[in-house]
Amino acid sequence: MLFLPAVTFVMLAGTPDGTYTLMPFLNSELLVRFDKLSKVFGYVFIIITFIGVIYALHVKGAGELAASFIHAGSALGAVFAGDLLSLFVFWEMLTLSAAFIIWSRRSRRSQGAGFRYLLVHLFGGMCLLAGIIMHVKQAGSLEFGYIGVNGLASYLMLLGVAVNTAIPPLHAWLTDAYPEASVTGTVFLSVFTTKTAVYVLARAFPGADILVIVGAIMTIFPIFYAVLENDLRRVLCYSLINQVGFMVVGVGIGTSLAINGAAAHAFADVLFKSLLLMSVGAVMYRTGTCLATDLGGLYKTMPITMFFCIVGAASISAFPLFSAFCTKSMIMSAAGHEQLTVIWLLLLFASAGVFHHAGIKIPYFTFFAHDSGKRPPEAPPNMLVAMGLAAFLCIFIGVYPQPLYNLLPYPVEYVPYTADHVVSQLLLLFCASLAFATLMITGYYPPEMRSVNLDTDWFYRKAGPAFLRAVGGPVAAANDWLGRLFLDRIPGYLVRFGQNPSAVMKLALETLTLPFRDEESRMRINKEKDALRASYSSYVLKPWFLSHSLLLVALFLAVYLVFYLLYSK
């Protein structure tokens, strides 16, 4: 299992850049493309697959791991796809395999979350497909390159990609489904879908202004939720949206520094986000919970996990000497150079916010805070090795970013370690922790609480079903009534009329004059009516069997055929 990612890595490193034809398809070709942009994503996907497999070595049963491998493979396929058709196929495989990873936890919640995940992503996939078909029709080629925001085809594709990028309000699948997967499943899930989508954005829509705005929103709104959320893996999922927001802003700015920043930050984010999820996952594996209300004081018995968690926390918060300091700052810097004042201020606010909820909250509530009384043993060795590898890479990138910079799509002139950058960033982070400490001590900080926080998934989890109930009742009743009217009563009248028109007409006339008759004749007329009804009772539709409908279908087809022969050409 470990062999496979290792071999893939060596093969990728040995493949020269270029576009290769895989095979002819209809009147086009299926292409595979290797260039710097796709390779950066490819490398980190393979590295994290390797680490994730080590982390999951203890898992019995092949189902989840098989789905994880297919998931990782589809992501690689999507990243190296040179044509839109292969991209779409791998895109859908990514969705399907993710649903199986979610279901592998086999809990009632994960079952529901998996289905919701599938439905949302199938919607996104359909938008993408519709956009691709229109684009191919217009451009006349399947080639997957720069598309840009112009016209309906690109809007549809952008919408489809936006679902996978978790751009609000289409983000709720992420925080809904990922935390419901198993300890190991979430680590795999957190990597591929969103980063593949960022890659597609960087390939097809660099410099799209709309992405700067939605990206900034993505960095801001999840941090409020992350402060309130009790489930620590869900907190990390909110911060995942926030980090992807930085990348989306980078892609939207579209300068070479910004695209470099987006790619570099994707690389770093994959490592530190999975490191954080692995450490919280290890705690969950040992204690059975990842709710902040149930944890605390674990540093006493899980010190190594705590250390790795803090490395991840420092990396995501962009502490000097940790990875995001060298990657996220490229995006910030690009926003600064482009004089995007508001965006830059929002990103800086989001940076402080990330430190607040992911950098402090995660380690603090897990390993310190109030003592939960839990004394779980240290995480199993395979988990420690996996976390150690990820932690090493986080620090390595932070200390010596040059190897990563060499992988980026454009030449890098950016220098992260300047005196003012280090001091400014440290001041930002120290004062953010000062704020946290002050609010904690004064008791203003919102207490951890077992709760559900409403997000946009409310619309399809609560409002949708309620809407169906409210509308469904009346619609079903109307349908019922119309059905009886047209399939039973009207045919009934017609049949009776056809069988014996004079009697029916005479009866109808007598019914009309009913109010003017005396009691005796009224009873007589009613009796006659009942008798007539009974003699041709409601068996009108009984003889309609399958054969009849088949005959009708055949007839319709024959009519179509005649029309076609008459009017074609």
Binding site: A352, V423, C431, A432, A435, P446, V452, L454
Partner: protein, 80 residues
Amino acid sequence: MKREWDFFDRPGNRKALLIIFVASLVFLLVIDFFIHKHPYFGWDGLPTFYAFYGFLGCVLLVVIAKNMRRFIKREEDYYD
């Protein structure tokens, strides 16, 4: 039985950590005045800009989040 590792629960250690934290913060605030800046907009090069922004940003974050709870908080089994 092995004694439990309770480094962070001892009052002396906590106090030492706090002192280190405050000392480094003061140190950073002081050298912030003497460092050559490369500001993007001008005003972001002012001394202690990042310090104030970090502190106020986080306070604002928590204040808004705490008040959001009134609108978005539901019982844990809300969706079940």
